[in-house]
């Protein structure tokens, strides 16, 4: 079944450039439709997470934890623009999102109502009630479910990329994490492994400066997460994570490297978590001034202004987009709330493969 082109030279050591590309401003700008799409998904993401965090959670309709990526939407949107999909197993990329990358789910084709059902613990959620919130995945959407043990996805994403190399395809493995996860051993093992085997992985760090209450300065001694790339012999860059065009551009170049067999890239996107760690955290440990400062850098407003500047839309169009989103979400919430819970005895099923 795997009669594939074996053009690859194998997984042995290769000569890898250790040069680190300098940070650059966005040099490639997507077409107009793509620009509008990015704005739409950033807005949908924020609206969906706001519903979840500010409405449903407070109504008691979501019983577990809620972790949102408010203020960080540009990173997952800009990255997801490069994810290849709809072409089958030997064509589509694979994604390992972390817990503040909601846009990836939406852009990979998971409808909002399924996400809401997941949050509500319903039978029709992505995990059928077995796991909650962002702990969801679906291989049909090329999404690998993340686990709470941050950093565990790194070697897994490398393993997906290993498969692509073995098959000799130009598929790419996208791997998301926060700056906190970079302190974990699995993160280091995974990056080293991917670098040594020259695997097509794009490592995407969502540096929102706080891991729960811990500031990034207590997470690492190097100035930038991307500084660590040199330690693994892979290129590393740090970029403005609140500029979706910059994200789009940087990811695009890393993806290109990966597709061309040049191995992994570590990209760090600087951003800010505009909430607490979770819906139950008021983030009192974060200086208020920082919220104000980063509010001015809000990625959605910047994108909107940019698109207005390009005359791709006006205030009316923005309003239309927003009401369309609200309408979609109204329907999605109604659908999710009508979904059944799993039956209690379903607890016992699905631990192992079951014959159909």
């Amino acid at each position: 079944m795997l009669a594939r082109d074996r053009k690859s030279q194998g997984v042995g050591p290769r000569t890898v450039s250790s040069s680190v590309r300098p940070a650059t401003d966005a040099t490639r700008v997507p077409d107009d439709a793509s620009l509008l799409k990015m704005l739409y998904y950033m807005k949908l993401t924020r609206a969906l997470e706001t519903r979840i965090e500010r409405k449903l959670y407070r109504q008691g309709k979501i019983v577990g934890g809620v972790y949102v990526g408010r203020g960080q939407e540009a990173i997952s949107v800009g990255a997801a623009m490069h994810m290849r999909r709809g072409g089958g197993e030997d064509h589509d990329d694979i994604v390992s999102p972390s817990h503040r990358d909601m846009a990836v789910f939406l852009m990979q084709g998971v409808p909002p109502e399924k996400i809401l059902a997941q949050y509500m613990g319903r039978k029709t959620g992505l995990t059928r009630g077995r796991d909650g919130n962002m702990h969801m995945g679906d291989l049909r959407h090329r999404l690998i479910a993340f686990v709470s043990h941050l950093g565990d996805s790194i070697p897994v994403a490398a393993g997906c990329a290993l498969t692509f190399r073995m098959h000799g395809t130009d598929q790419v493995s996208f791997c998301f994490f926060g700056e906190g996860a970079t302190s974990r051993g699995d993160w280091h093992e995974g990056l080293n492994f991917a670098a040594v085997l020259q695997l097509p992985v794009v490592f995407i760090c969502n540096n929102n400066q706080y891991a729960y209450s811990t500031h990034v300065s207590r997470q690492m001694k190097v100035e930038r997460v991307s500084d660590r790339a040199r330690g693994y012999g892979m290129p590393g860059e740090s970029k403005d994570g609140n500029d979706v065009l910059v994200v789009y551009d940087a990811i695009g170049r890393a993806v290109e490297r990966a597709r061309h067999g040049e191995g992994p890239t570590l990209l760090e996107f600087l951003t800010f978590r505009m909430t607490g760690h979770s819906a139950h955290d008021d983030a009192g440990y974060v200086p208020k001034v920082l919220f104000a400062e980063w509010e001015r850098k809000d990625p959605i407003r910047r994108c909107e202004d940019d698109l207005k500047g390009r005359r791709l839309l006006d205030a009316g169009a923005v309003q239309a987009m927003e009401s369309r989103i609200e309408g979609e979400l109204d329907e999605a919430v109604a659908w999710a709330e009508a979904q059944p819970y799993p039956s209690p005895e379903e607890c016992l099923t699905g631990v192992y493969h079951e014959q159909a």
């Binding site: 796991d131 393993g159 997906c160 093992e189 080293n192 492994f193 192992y352």
Partner: protein, 325 residues
């Protein structure tokens, strides 16, 4: 027919599965150029190439994590732990990612994690461990521990073809000490089935791995010297346990001795005793007894390790006590 060693049987099983199924590949430390610390993968690099016989950095967590990723992408990885002791480095990947994937979001992780376990070779605390129970306690995993060359081959093939993650424990003491004729034809030993190695009516010994041979020798002595007929059951799989076989053997004799090389507290013997107690209490004609290693790390020096390991004499003592009960 030539005799096949236990280690050769494992190698044959992997080799044949790699020939049979392109999705099967092996990754681990020193598995390629060197052919594995115990030569299980010797010759495979030449035959299958570096795409399918992959030398990795010393990163057990990355080895297992990468195997998980590959399995999710449709492959059938075999991750080698150079010594099974090092599996602890990958504990998180195994127990939180591999084991729970299917249950959480329906994505099966068909993969094998295998490596040399067990003592008796003066390997000391870090080259002699029996880590099975960490994983037997993790729903979503399967754990097997073959004792014969036939089973070593049949179980590695079954493990590779299984749709779920399987921990395959090779007893290094048996690698080159056990040899037997095994069929040329393709066969598997189904996971979750125990095997009766000796029939008896007076007493049942349940065991697995290298302890099987100690138990069989003890059974022989009991029969010769006292006419005590001992049933010896080789569990082969620890998760899932062959409950039917355990209960059948317990009912048959009413007296059960569980023997394992693993340490005592939290060993599988306790679980087996509980199962027997819950399900066939009325058939018992004596307490379920255990012969196990004591609750210590595996010591290095020969007198210490000899004291640590269960053996025929320790089994005899317990068996006699139980037979006389």
């Amino acid at each position: 027919m030539a005799l096949t060693t236990y280690v050769e049987a494992i190698k044959q099983g992997i080799w044949e599965e790699m020939e049979r199924d392109e999705r099967v590949f092996i990754l681990g430390e020193d598995v390629g150029v060197y052919g594995g610390a115990f030569k299980v993968t010797e010759g495979m690099l030449d035959r299958f190439g570096e795409m399918r016989v992959i030398d990795t950095p010393i990163s057990e967590s990355a080895i297992v994590g990468a195997a998980i990723g590959a399995a999710l992408m449709g492959m059938r990885p075999i991750a080698e732990m150079q010594f099974i002791d090092f599996i602890s480095c990958a504990f998180d990947q195994i127990t939180n990612f591999a084991a729970k994937n299917r249950y959480r979001w329906g994505a099966g992780v068909p993969m094998v994690i295998r490596g040399p376990s067990g003592g008796g070779v003066h390997g000391g605390p870090y080259h002699s461990q029996n880590p099975e129970m960490y994983f037997v306690h993790t729903p979503g995993l399967k754990v097997v521990a073959p004792a014969t060359a036939y089973d070593a081959k049949g179980l590695i093939k079954a493990a590779i073809r299984d749709e779920d993650p399987v921990i395959y424990l090779e007893h290094k003491y048996l690698y080159r000490r056990i040899k037997e004729e095994i069929p040329k034809e393709d066969y598997i030993v189904p996971i979750g089935q125990a095997a009766v190695r000796r029939e008896g009516r007076d007493l049942t010994i349940l065991t697995y791995g290298a302890m099987l041979y100690q138990a069989l020798e003890a059974a022989e002595t009991l029969a010769r010297e006292q006419g005590i007929q001992t049933e010896v059951v080789d569990l082969r799989s620890l998760l899932p346990l062959d409950k039917d076989a355990i209960l059948k053997a317990a009912k048959k004799t009413g007296k059960v001795l569980v023997v394992h090389e693993d340490t005592r507290t939290g060993g599988i013997a306790g679980e087996i005793a509980a199962i027997i107690n819950e399900e066939v209490f009325e058939y018992l004609d004596g307490p379920v007894l255990r012969v196990t290693a004591p609750d210590t790390p595996v010591p290095y020096s020969p007198p210490l390790e000899d004291f640590f390991l269960p053996n025929k004499e320790k089994i005899l003592k317990a068996a006699r006590q139980l037979a006389a009960y």
